[in-house]
Symmetry: C2
Subunit: 409 residues, 2 copies
């Protein structure tokens, strides 16, 4: 009845998994305006110069810079105002020597002009002339054609997660539709005869399903679409039927297995029959999370997670979030990391990664990471925590007072 | 024609705004399963003990701890197996002295038992008896009633943004519906005779609308719902009509104004007539972003932003994201901050906050923040940047080599 599996380190487990997992990014075309936080699936190149015409950055007068050289308030340059460039229109006037035209911020600088004098540095003489009291250099207060971005210049590469400024930058170029990665579909199968849906009454001996939802939320955060297959009774036929349906419909299937050895064995057996090569890793040197299964079945990524909700979330972050990112063609989502001093000693074993939930406290201007007390398999240790610290494989523990990196939840 | 407004520091401007802005959080009840990243609008208290029955954390035998004291492989404790507790059921057996019952991970520990011996530390003698080869202490491998969370204990407070584990933790208690803050509605009005919708052909002198989308994306990220009022022609009647409609329909109205002084003055005038007290701040000591308007009109928050897309995003982060968070009843959204060394000198003026866009580079194991070259009003300076650094009000600049805090985009 004791489990006989060979535990692998997380890096070894992931490497073994990647030997057999060849993620293919599938894409769809969507409106750029709706693409915030989506992952780009094509190389974008600027179809035009931006701007396409020289633009003024100030309100003032378009001039030939040379006409202003040496101008001072005491000895201003005198220029004839030959017209005004209306906003949103091409300039129809041309500036010659000794001439100026009114331009507005963002408006076109007319041909012949090579700089703009700010209105603050001019004085109106009469309807048709101004005095310029400060010289401008060539190009001053003008955005040149293509100065923002040039036609043919690469903009954004596949794998880039679109930020607000990217949406704006693409629309500025008229790129109103783009190819983004289709969200991978993650199927979640909960098992356990003791598990009931959260909206059902619980009887003594029963507990409500946590993992279908907490893991689903992690998957959504990573950019996946989630299908929940409900709570499957602990019998092999039912589990097999659900597994086959999920493998058909999803890119990634996650078993949130009953926690006991016999259920885990059954899950491993069922996964083993879903396709080739089957189970690759059974057991990782992670605490909490040791009884984890990594498998690839006919190209689909399959994971068996411990039933304990904390272990399940730790392992999800460790293996399934990266698998989702691989299917999106992007690097792992950026985590928010901060430094803090550890508030109490943490013991660990070398050869094992430990993940410790912590709260943060300010003490005399320093930030401290305080491990959350309680058995590591209680969901409220995670609810009460603000972040996680990792005790690396090669460490026997971390002493109180040492600086640690906290990954915020 | 020069602008005559009194520039205020960002903290002063925000304080003045808050004197007149009294955000009311509105809430709605939604399914907890759908509440990821939403902001809680009620105090939640645990309606029950979790777990409601003592649970085993291992596969093994429920025993009376005292029966195992002193047990060793050489001198094991001999116990009668009186039954098995099935998963998901109440235990119907009771453990007496010298007795044990088979329990599975997550199963109920039967009455009379106060600890569980892992199966690995036992040996089966026959159908009805085992040897225990290692003692267990009272409570060992048992989660006590209420050990995860106790009935009546506060769980999460209003203003908390729900994380995956929170969703799981609430559902574990059968809290399937919760009150969350209704997303504030942010209306965006673009103006400028030179601005055209991104899907329209541009003529010489015209540019495509960026701000409706980049600012809309920032608003969505902060947790707001966005209404775009399109591009309003630069005449007072049209602007007034759009403004009145937006103020009616939204909690926050953002004018992405034409950039020139005359347009800005018109925007300020229109805002001034939308309600009491009207314009509170006209001009902030921020670069880029000086010509910013903060107003409160009959309880609605109104902002006039510079047309320049970089300024507009900087100012949005500075004032509108906090206003959205106030309407959600939450602190500002957590930003990802990292430290880096500044790659070149940055000049600034004391009395002004400067926001500089930077790329990140690794050089000999250290992270460097490299300011993105180019005029600060070009959208691609933001697209090509990974984060922003701030030169504080009281600083005359930052020297190359100094450590700075980068807020990642």
């Amino acid at each position: 009845m004791p489990e006989l599996f060979t535990v692998q380190t997380p890096p070894d487990a992931w490497a073994r998994f990647l030997e057999h997992f060849s993620p293919q990014v599938r894409s769809e075309r969507i409106a750029t305006a709706d693409a915030l936080d989506r992952v780009l699936a094509e190389q974008l190149v600027s179809p035009q110069d931006l701007p396409e015409f020289p633009r003024s950055t100030v309100d003032g007068y378009a001039v030939t810079a040379a006409d202003t050289y040496g101008a001072t308030p005491g000895l201003p340059a005198f220029l004839s105002v030959v017209g005004e460039v209306p906003m949103g229109k091409a300039a129809t006037i041309e500036i010659g020597v000794g001439e100026a035209a009114i331009v507005h911020t963002g408006g076109m600088v007319p041909p012949g002009a090579d700089a703009v004098v700010m209105v603050e540095n001019t004085q109106r003489v009469d309807e048709a002339s101004i005095e310029v009291m400060q010289p401008v250099s060539e190009g001053q207060s003008v955005i040149q054609i293509g100065e923002d971005i040039r036609k043919g210049q690469p903009i954004l590469a596949p794998g880039h997660r679109l930020r607000p400024q990217d949406v704006g930058g693409l629309l500025a170029l008229g790129i109103t539709e783009i190819a983004v990665a289709l969200p991978p579909v993650v199927g979640i199968i909960s098992t356990g005869d003791e598990v009931v849906a959260p909206d059902q009454p619980v009887q003594p001996g029963q507990v409500r399903d946590i993992n279908s939802y907490s893991l689903g939320a992690l998957a959504e955060r990573a950019g996946a679409r989630v299908v929940r297959y409900g709570i499957i009774p602990d019998n092999r036929a039912a589990l097999e039927a659900a597994a086959r349906r999920a493998v058909q419909e999803c890119d990634i299937v996650v078993f949130s297995a009953g926690s006991s050895v016999s259920y885990r064995d059954m899950t491993a057996d069922v996964i083993g029959e879903l396709g080739r090569p089957g189970v690759l890793v059974h057991g990782v040197s992670v605490k909490p999370g040791k009884p984890t299964i990594l498998a690839v079945c006919d190209g689909k990524a399959i994971f068996g997670l411990p039933g304990n909700p904390v272990s399940a979330m730790v392992i999800f972050d460790l293996f399934i979030t990266p698998a989702i990112c691989a299917l999106l063609g992007t690097a792992a989502p950026p985590q928010t990391r901060i430094n803090a001093r550890l508030a109490r000693n943490i013991a660990s074993d070398t050869g094992r990664e430990d993940y410790i939930q912590v709260r943060l406290e300010e003490r005399e201007g320093e930030r401290w990471a305080v491990p959350v007390l309680g058995k590591s398999n209680l969901i409220y240790t995670l609810v009460n925590a603000e972040g996680t610290i990792k005790v690396p494989l090669d460490s026997g523990g971390i002493r109180a007072g040492e600086w640690v990196t906290v990954v915020l939840h």
